[in-house]
Symmetry: C2
DNA sequence: CGCCACATTGAAGGCAGTCAAAGGTGGTGG
DNA sequence: CCACCACCTTTGACTGCCTTCAATGTGGCG
């Protein structure tokens, strides 16, 4: 899985599939079948995986690396919908009948993706319904994230969105709850801004304000949460 | 299906299921099975179907009426995520493991909903994988709509969102493309505003501006599209 | 060392939200 | 039939959050 390695072997792929939540609950033979319809594709940093509007005939699962999926405004502003990393499925929209990707996807690092053709996958789901249930759970999860994003964009100010992002990140990185928890941004601040529906300038100002309130400490992409309660209040809509 | 009728009979339910895209491609016996695990629930206008955070143990399919699913800000502002009507599935989030509804759902008319318990439904999917595939397509469709909503909120001004809504509505009502097409809003303007991520005052002003530009004509909830090309330009981001 | 991308800070302006009040509309009951 | 009420809609004035533009700071890397 290290960067710059050559494509994975068939054995490595099977091992990966076995550990992926999307393929859990399948028999050894089931995983075998999944592996047999997957093909591997590698992308370098900045490389486009697909563009908005191009025909969607299959979806991807990230084996390694990160892929950002985003929309562009006519003026060129970018809104990141989600950044997918290991074990995430992306572009499930391809499983819909009307087949055009609704957004851009771009690798932000060296990545290896598994590609599944729609028809192959659907055939397999008919034989292994568990796979369908797994994908449904996966889609529901993504749906929730989008709901949360809509809520943020429509009902919360930038400060609250930033606070919520930091708390969620702390949870994901296993250091929630306690004051003094350290979190590391695993994307650039510009990308984070684009993910939160704002611009880097505003994000910068917001972080500064949080810092001046003594809520967080910022050193590069390492952020220390000094006052967890305050952060929670802010993420819930309390003014800065 | 007329309002104020009593609950549907078992026969009516089966007939309805047979015509619902979500249950297409199933054998007669399959539809029978689906009907056997569904229970019917009726709601009056303004009645809450479920609230955010309450345990989610199943999802619904709309037989008749309309249900709005929405988020509330701490200050009480409402963002409508989607308005579901006949044959739509809602609250599929319940099929996810972590089981709490992420939003409120409220009937906006007299409605009859079919309720499916998660476990029952999942059992059935194992025996009828086509059902899983149908639901996946359904979820993908909803995902696209949310993507479109995120795009609108983040990258488009209110004018563009309104224009896009009107064009989409014209398509749904079968009168797209031509100047002079008439569309009828099937929800109140306040609800529309909440759906577009704005407030009724701003929507009112926006419609007036579109009217003063000669792009549309407004009479109550009946809107005539006078200049389709202009509307498309505006929806694509061209300034008003 | 110098380049380049990313990040920060300041100043100015605009889109849209809030507040407040008046105007419209449909339904109900006297 | 009309008066009343509730709800939705419209309009005006004001405020403010955030974006835009521009310039400077910073860190990594060839």
């Amino acid at each position: 899985m290290c960067p710059y390695s050559s494509s994975s072997s068939r054995e490595q792929r099977k091992e990966f599939l076995g550990e992926c939540p999307l393929f859990s609950g399948l028999s050894k033979e089931g995983v075998e079948k999944v592996a047999s319809i997957a093909s591997s594709r590698r992308f370098g940093p900045g490389e486009l995986v697909f563009r908005e509007g191009s025909p969607a005939e299959g979806f991807y699962v990230v084996m390694s690396g990160k892929v950002k999926v985003y929309k562009l405004s006519p003026e060129g502003k970018e809104q990141i919908l989600h950044i997918f990393s290991s074990c995430d499925a992306l572009a499930e929209a391809a499983l819909c009948a009307d087949a055009a990707y609704p957004a851009y996807a771009e690798s932000v690092s060296d990545s290896e993706l598994l590609y599944f053709q729609r028809d192959d996958f659907q055939r397999l789901v008919r034989r292994k319904p568990q796979l369908g249930l797994n994908l449904i759970a996966n889609l529901c999860h993504l749906l929730r994230q989008f709901v949360s994003m809509i809520e943020g964009l429509s009902l919360r100010e930038v400060g609250a969105r930033v606070a919520k992002y930091l708390m969620d990140l702390a949870v994901r990185q296993g250091s929630q709850g306690k004051d003094g928890a350290k979190v590391r941004l695993d994307i650039t601040k510009s990308q984070l801004a684009s993910n939160l529906g704002t611009v880097s300038e505003t994000l910068s100002r917001t972080l500064r304000k949080l810092r001046s309130e003594g809520v967080i400490e910022v050193k590069g992409n390492l952020i220390t949460i000094l006052n967890c309660k305050a952060l929670r209040r802010i993420s819930a809509g309390m003014r800065l």
